[in-house]
Structures are given as C-alpha cells and as structure tokens.
Amino acid sequence: MTPLHYYLIFAALLFSVGLAGALMRRNAILVLIGIELMLNAANLNFIAFWRYSPTANELVGLMFVLFSIGIAAAEAAVGLAIIISIYRHHRSTQLQHVDRLKG
C-alpha cells in the first residue's frame, strides 16, 4: 500500500503548480484554471486522509469532497460568466488591462 505522505506530497506539488499559475499568468482564464487546480489538490488531500483514517467508514472526507466538487463546479460557472462579461466590457481578458480602467 502506498504510504500516506506520497499522496500529500503529490497534492502539495499540485497545489503549488496551481498557485504558481494563478500568480504568474496574466490571462484571467488561466488564473481560474490555477484556482481549479488548487481546489482539486485540496480534494486530493481530503480523500487521502479519509482513506488512511481509522474511522474511514464514517465517509466524512468523502462527503466533504463531494460537496467541494459541487461548489467548485458552481464557482467555475460563475467565474467564467464574470470573465465573459469582463471581456465584453473591456475587450480583453488580460488582467492588467482590467484594473487600469475605472469601469
């Protein structure tokens, strides 16, 4: 059985890739993709801890991940809708262009 910290390191790496993407890239959609990656990394942690927890039959971690996936889908939908309306208003999704306009 793979020991628990393999999954935790994997989740940490995934989280930092998402964070790096969100911080480094200019495009709003890529920032949102970065956020999705961070969310998924967190989900992975939950499932890893659920799998190795003595009270796994309580399904607590699993439930948390189900709700987190639901919320993430809602968040992605609203985030992308905002990006589209920003684009329609400012004609570009580059984040530095957005904050310069007073709109």
Binding site: Y6, L13, S16, N27, L30, I33, N40, I71, L80, S85
Partner: protein
Amino acid sequence: MRMLSDIPIAFLMIAAVTLVSAVCAMSLRNLVHCGLCLVLTFVGLAATYLHLSAEFVGFAQVLVYVGAVAILIVFTILLTRNAEVTLSPVSQSSLVGLGIAIAVCGSLVLPLVTSPSLRRLPAQSLAPDAQVQRIGEKLMAQYVIPLEALALVLTAAMIGAVVIAMRDDPERNDPSPSPQNQKDTGSVSNSPAGTALNSSSSTSSSQRP
C-alpha cells in the same frame, strides 16, 4: 534497499502524468492546449481517487470536471477570442509570484518529509467500503442539510451565471443605443456562436496594444 514491488509504480505513474499535464496547463502558449492539458490533469486526479478506492468520487470528478467544467472553460476561451492568441512570455513581476509559490510548496512539503508522525501511522490495509448505498444513506441522513444547501448554491450559481453572461439586447429593451454600444467599433455579433465564429476567423491579436 526497498523491494521492487514495494515502490508504488501505479501511483507514481499517475502522479507523474498529472503533474506534467498540470504544469503544461499552466505554461503552454496556446490557451486551448492549456484547457486540454487541464482535462488530462482532471483525468489523472480521477485515476488517483480510484487508486485510493474512492470509486464514486472518481467517477463524479470525471463527470463534473471533464464533462462540464472543461467544456465551460474551453467555451470561454473561444468566446473571449483567446483561441489563437499566443500569450506573452513570463514578465519580471511574475517571477515574484513564482517565488511565492515555491515558498508555499516548500512550507508544505518540508514538514511532510521531516515529520516522524506520518511514518508511524499504520496504513489502512483494507479499503473502507465506500458503497454507493452507504454514501446515499449518509447523504440523506447525516448530511441532508449541506445537500439542500448545495442544491440552493448550484441553482443560484446557475441563474447567476446566466444573468451575468446574458447579453442585454439593446434593441429589445431600450431603443436608444446605450453609450457602451456606440463606442464599439466592430460590434460583436449577437449569438455566442457568432462570437466564436468571429474568434476563429479574426486573425488579429487582441485589440489592445
């Protein structure tokens, strides 16, 4: 030396594929390729969940993310005319971001590797029975309030997304063209498909300098 069968080959392969596609999703120049690499990341994560014998979550992950969120992201890329825009190289201010990310990664991984407590935790050998039946019972019994709240959140998000992204038809509600439309030089045609059509046909990069 660790025995060959002791190293978790399957897990390492899945993790490698997922991490590589995650890095690609963040760094590729063509945005649609980023979206497709993101899909590969989601599939890799679903494989990890299956590896952790959480079947239901793995399939839910594929259904929700690969089936819906990925299509949403790809549609947004097309609707905001980013399909064939080559993205700018890494600028100076973003190196600070990279620094922060590496710091965070270090702060996460270091305690993991050094802390003695994790190695002592006995690995849960038998897989907990995450039967769909039990998940259903728990959802309906213990977690029924969060479930209803989630339903409300999803409905609100759906309606919110539609309201935000809906195009207010200038002709229909107020005949006098609103200032925002006069300023538009190339007025974007109405239907989203039309916009996507323009995006694939317009070769010009984004109109900003």
